[in-house]
């Protein structure tokens, strides 16, 4: 289920900023991005709850190998694969999206394992993600022009 677009400043050091700049990632600096809310209902498969996508990235990973990031020093969590007709695709998640928040937990400054854990908590049926992608930025820019 897609939610409204919203401006958001994620990241540990949040700073209020009232303009949306390009999604630039400067390590150590607060990040500003246009995000989309995506609510994914986990699907029960046997005794597991799955979301139907794969993530890559993390502060303990090599960011240079991320094929989806614009800035190759971006150590964020990216969606590397979306299972067709899985819960994530149905909810509107797309490959290449950068995950900023999961159920309120920040995902811009986490290790790969922490990210995975936050997505796969057994007691949660639904995860609400905030994701950003390049096309969102451009859509907003065009609508503002």
């Amino acid at each position: 289920m897609k939610g409204p677009l919203s401006y958001l400043q994620p990241g540990r050091n949040t700073k209020v900023s009232d303009q949306s700049e390009t999604m630039s990632f400067i390590p150590g600096q607060p990040v500003t991005a246009v995000v989309q809310r995506i609510e994914i209902r986990k699907l029960r498969q046997g005794e597991h709850l799955i979301l139907g996508f794969s993530i890559g990235g993390g502060i303990d990973q090599d960011p240079g190998q991320n094929p989806f990031s614009e800035d190759k020093s971006d150590k964020g969590i990216y969606v590397t694969r979306v299972t067709p007709e899985g819960p994530a695709e149905v909810a509107g998640l797309m490959m290449g999206d950068k995950v900023m928040q999961v159920n309120g937990w920040d995902m811009t400054m986490v290790t790969h394992d922490q990210a995975r854990k936050r997505l796969t908590k057994k007691n949660e049926d639904v995860v609400r993600l905030l994701v950003t992608r390049k096309s969102l930025e451009q859509a907003v820019k065009h609508s503002m022009m």
Binding site: H48, I55, Q65, P67, T80, K117
Partner: protein, 649 residues
């Protein structure tokens, strides 16, 4: 008679030239196949080989048909004494040829949903491509790698056949080849295999040329003799198999995309199987020459019926497509000026020769069209009787062509010629450039080579087992310059191939270590991977025979029972060769590596899809996570420094 024979001989020699050309290409492809080391290259070479073979067979069957026709003619001539080549074809009207183009081929796939949600082992990949054939013209598309992340196989090529008759049959064949076979001919050493293929190529080519000689007997029509001569089976390397085929004809031509059924050969058990949905979508367009070329042109006098008998207009008429364009002067047409007026010549048009007009010398031609509700008739008159006759011929031919090409003559279909493409970056699916790592001369190179040498010495001690790590090929190569080692997607086979004896004492305490680490069990909520990954994704060629340890590592089994869960996605670890920084105390570490790699696979839920798990030996230090669980995390960090892990959630 001589001219007929001459033209036939010309065609013969044309085909022979084509066959010779294809044989040369074939030899080249065989050599390349024998020489190449990378899987992609081998697949491409095998594809060229298949295409060349198919072309050779097509040319040879055409040659066969021509020889048979010659023989038939000679027989017919002898029997009734008449020159049968004169009669017949002249009276029958032949339709014009045209261009047929097929583009935007898309073949939907139908993976089982169980495959989607699992991440079992590595991706089973197949290389596929299409062969398209109209008559003797055979084209192939580019090769596409197919794995279960694809929902459709898309071929971007536009293939144009320039001289197709309206009764054409476009045969589309989909070939596929599994991308993970061990290509070497069983246990035969590579050198011998390559010698065989190249030498057979040359001798077979000679045999083929002998067979081409008109004096010799021609190959059997079913190509049986041909397959004996063509050493396709003897060539080592990836082999493509026919997966599906279909035939398209004029009835399938349309100016938009259409879906056609595929006949599928093969089944799930074949290695080259790809689950096809059963149809193929494409755009099949045709441009008959009658629509694109000037079929007739000349000077005419035109009068509109009902007008003044004296009001003849002198025009230069051009019959093209569904129109007769009338220009004031011939120069106008060449200058692309708009015509004075246009008379439609289409399926609704009626043309007849009128009675002799008392005012003009020759017969006139009346062209009637319905414009709106009205019938408008134009009368054409040419300078001489022969001209009139030629124009009538041209109109009849046009009508005949339109009746043969049917819907292609309603409107001109667009055919976009394929633009010259830049060499495509094949790395799109493979991931980053880290796959091809060149160890250039830098300060670190000495460290790296020292480390590798030491490691090699260490492993040579175990060489009686015949194991050799992937990067041994670095040192096996001729001491020329530095080579580009393919360090992608390999697993350190050596740790897994270590004999059980030195390993077992180390493995036994391991489960104990893990079970005592309570934090570990609570950490990950997924079981260990089934195998220290990437086994199958190892080196393409340097190792003679893969000696895999059986998947049921007792360690894995123990850990899975510890976990007691079977997560939907079976994930694999990313085993890496030791990075430079961890290689310091090599002898001490090399043995425990196997166990450590197993543990890393259990602790981390990560699966490394091969495209993103290269290793780098460039010596740059990796970052160590400063997490609380030092022991395990450090170990994992040591082993997977450069891996870009991916996890399925």
């Amino acid at each position: 008679m001589a001219s007929v024979n001459n033209s036939k001989n010309l065609r013969d020699s044309d085909i022979q030239k084509k066959i010779d050309h294809e044989i040369r290409m074939r030899d080249g492809a065989c050599k390349l196949l024998a020489a190449c080391s990378q899987r992609d290259q081998a697949l491409e070479a095998a594809k060229s080989l298949l295409t060349c073979n198919t072309r050779i067979m097509a040319y040879m069957s055409e040659l066969q048909r021509m020889k048979e026709a010659q023989v038939m003619q000679r027989v017919a001539r002898r029997s009734d004494g008449t020159r049968s080549s004169d009669a017949g074809p002249m009276d029958d009207r032949l339709p014009c040829k045209g261009k047929v183009a097929i583009s935007d081929l898309r073949i939907p796939l139908m993976w089982k949903d169980t495959e989607y949600f699992k991440n079992k082992g590595e991706l089973h990949r197949c290389a596929v491509f299409c062969l398209l054939q109209v008559g003797g013209e055979i084209h192939d598309t580019d090769m596409v790698m197919v794995d279960r992340t694809l929902t459709d196989i898309c071929f971007d090529n536009t293939i144009v056949f320039s001289e197709a008759s309206p009764g054409f049959e476009l045969r589309v064949e989909l070939y596929s080849c599994c991308s993970e076979e061990d290509y070497s001919a069983g246990s035969a050493p590579r050198k011998l295999a390559s010698k065989l293929s190249s030498s057979l190529g040359r001798s077979a080519g000679k045999k083929l040329r002998v067979a081409m000689d008109p004096g010799a007997c021609s190959p059997t029509s079913n190509g049986g003799a041909v397959t004996l001569l063509l050493p396709g089976h003897a060539v080592a390397g990836p082999k493509y198999h026919l997966l599906a085929h279909t035939s398209l004809s004029l009835s399938h031509v349309q100016d938009s995309f259409r879906t056609h059924d595929l006949s599928i050969s093969g089944n799930e058990d074949c290695s080259y199987w790809v689950p096809l949905y059963g149809s193929v979508c494409c755009r099949l367009a045709a441009q008959p020459h009658c629509m694109t070329q000037q079929m007739m042109s000349g000077c005419l006098k035109v009068k509109q019926l009902g007008g003044d008998p004296q009001s003849w207009t002198n025009v230069y008429g051009v019959l093209k497509g569904t129109n007769l364009f009338c220009y004031h002067r011939q120069e106008d047409m060449e200058a692309n000026v708009e015509p004075a007026f246009t008379i439609a010549i289409n399926k609704e048009t009626r043309i007849r020769a009128s009675e002799k007009d008392p005012h003009s010398k020759a017969q006139s031609i009346c062209i009637s069209n319905q414009y709106g509700g009205e019938e408008v008739t134009h009368t054409l008159s040419a300078d001489s009787h022969e001209e009139t006759h030629r124009w009538m011929e041209a109109f009849w031919q046009q009508f005949y062509d339109m009746s043969q090409w049917k819907q292609c003559c309603d409107d001109l279909m667009k055919i976009e010629l394929p633009s010259p493409r830049k060499p495509a970056l094949v790395t799109s699916k493979q991931g980053s450039l880290y796959h091809e790592i060149v160890i250039d001369t830098s300060d670190d190179i000495s460290t790296v080579t020292d480390i590798l040498t030491r490691r090699m010495q260490e492993l040579e001690l175990r060489s009686q087992l015949g194991t050799s790590p992937p990067w041994m090929s670095l040192f096996e190569e001729s001491p020329g310059g530095p080579r580009t080692p393919r360090l992608a997607r390999h697993s350190p086979r050596s740790p897994h191939r270590l004999p059980h004896s030195p390993l077992s004492p180390l493995r036994c305490p391991w489960p104990g270590l893990l079970s005592s680490d309570a934090s570990l069990t609570s950490d990950s909520d997924s079981p260990c991977s089934t195998s220290p990954c990437s086994r199958h994704r190892g080196w393409a060629e340097p190792l003679s025979s893969p000696r895999f340890r059986p998947r049921t590592l007792s360690l894995d089994a123990k850990l899975s029972t510890l976990r007691g869960r079977g997560y939907g996605g079976v994930l694999q670890c990313s085993c890496q060769p030791p990075s430079s920084s961890s290689l310091g105390p090599i002898p001490a570490q090399c043995v425990p590596q196997a166990t450590l790699s197993c543990s890393s696979s259990t602790s981390s839920n990560s699966s490394s899809e091969g495209s993103h798990s290269p290793s780098s030996l460039d010596g740059t230090p990796f970052s160590r996570p400063s997490s609380a669980r030092r022991s395990l995390r450090n170990v994992r960090a040591k082993l997977d420094p450069r891996n870009w892990l991916q996890s399925q959630v």
